[in-house]
Amino acid sequence: MSSMDAVERISEALGRAVRGLEPDVVERIRRAFDEERSKEGRMVLSRILENIEVAGRTGLPLCQDCGMFWCLVEVGRSCRTSLGDIEAVINAACGRAVVDYSFRRSVVEDPVFTRKNTGDNLPPVIHWGLVDGEDVTISFLLKGFGSENCSGVRMLRPTEGADGVVAAVVEMMKAAGGKPCPPVFLGVGIGGTMDRAAFLSKKALLRPVRQHSHDGKLASLEERLLEEVNKLGIGPGGLGGTVSCLALSIEADATHIAGLPVALSVNCWADRRAVIHFKGGVLC
């Protein structure tokens, strides 16, 4: 495979993600329309389904906020492609997708002072991880910022346990209300350091809809959190209703005796993901 092929594969996947959702996500939204009990909530969900249909038919982005590229690269320990080459392919693919699929240019280079637009949505936020074997898997989120602005981290006391986790997530979602384009998908990261918890909350968003944690206790906590968030009654579009959160995943990791970091990543209903797998880790 030449590096151009890899760039094309990735940019095409990003182009598909900006215009349409994975089948599991669309199916979940359709089911929400059947489940929703408020009239206004159903009205919002029907507009959302109509929007998905229009984007599919016209090739327009689902949402004008085409997001910031967030990316997790899982590199096989025996992979023979250099990390530098993988990074170059990712940057080229993101830059190409932005042009080919008319992404809005939403990234500024200096967050505080000039806020000058980079003009190409680069740089992507890249996280690197090592896995066994030689394959490379690149997972993207097109992270919209209406929802990202509602994300957050809380550093709980180590003794607060599951109740503390629930209270923290509920508190952040209560503050979010109708701002993040509900119904939302939620990723919860627990443990590690402050930044590790935040990373885990994004990684949790990559899990397919309704795929619970393999850990039974975490799977129950996922159920409990989903129920508690939906009890807030935020509803589709924030107009009230039974469906505020479509799905919630937790990723957890070891932490320090003195702490219990909890991070929440909020994603709007337009849960735009792309996963590209390179067998044998050959990108160029």
């Binding site: 009990r37 408020s38 009239k39 206004e40 009205m43 919002v44 507009r47 959302i48 109509e50 929007n51 229009v54 984007a55 016209t58 090739g59 327009l60 982005p61 689902l62 949402c63 004008q64 906020d65 085409c66 008319s102 992404f103 809005r104 240019r105 939403s106 806020r115 637009n117 919209g144 209406g146 602005n149 209300g177 109708g178 701002k179 993040p180 384009c181 509900p182 009890k231 009654g233 935020i234 509803g235 579009g237 924030g238 107009l239 009230g240 209703g241 039974t242 709007c268 209903w269 337009a270």
Partner: protein
């Protein structure tokens, strides 16, 4: 379903009622974070505004680029709360129709009541749907802001929901 045509007249603005769906047509202005900051700064400095607030509505939006042959790309609402620090000042200077998504601050709600203004909600994330309602689009100020420039659109039958009306009516979520 209520309808309103922009520029609005007093009667049309007063006909909007909280909790009702609204179809909006006509000339609609578009501005988000940086436009609000600039309008606010211009007012504070006693300068002239780039468009007449009288009869006008402002839509919190920044579109994706227009594909060939279309007037605009994806064109859904952005989060209104970020305009909250500036909106009361704009209302004091004649702006009475705002369109965005999500809740408003207490200060904005009070200014809406005081100025007999209206807040409409667009359906969040539905950018492709709203692109279909836009017939023309031109930049009228701050082109250097790129996707955040101040725009003037011609829209037809834009589906919205009235959150706060000019009579003090506020949409209340149903209890579940």
């Amino acid at each position: 379903m209520l309808t309103i045509k922009l520029p609005y007249d007093e009667e049309a603005l007063l006909s909007l009622v909280a909790s009702e769906e609204v179809l909006l047509s006509g000339r609609l202005h578009v501005g988000r974070d940086q436009v609000h900051k600039r309008l606010y700064d211009t007012i504070q400095a006693g300068g002239g505004l780039p468009f007449d607030f009288n009869g006008a509505g402002i839509y919190y939006m920044g579109p994706s680029p227009a594909p060939e042959g279309l007037p605009i790309g994806s064109a859904g609402p952005t989060t209104s709360a970020r305009m909250d620090p500036y909106s009361p000042c704009l209302m004091e200077h004649g702006l009475r129709l705002m369109i965005g998504k999500g809740p408003r601050s207490q200060a904005v709600m009070e200014a809406i009541r005081r100025c007999k203004a209206v807040y409409l909600q667009a359906y969040g994330g539905c950018g492709a749907l709203y692109a279909q309602c836009v017939k023309s689009c031109k930049v009228i100020a701050y082109p250097e802001l790129g996707p955040e420039a101040l725009l003037e659109l011609e829209v037809v039958d834009m589906p919205l929901f009235c959150m706060i009306d000019a009579h003090g009516g506020i949409y209340q979520r149903p209890s579940i």
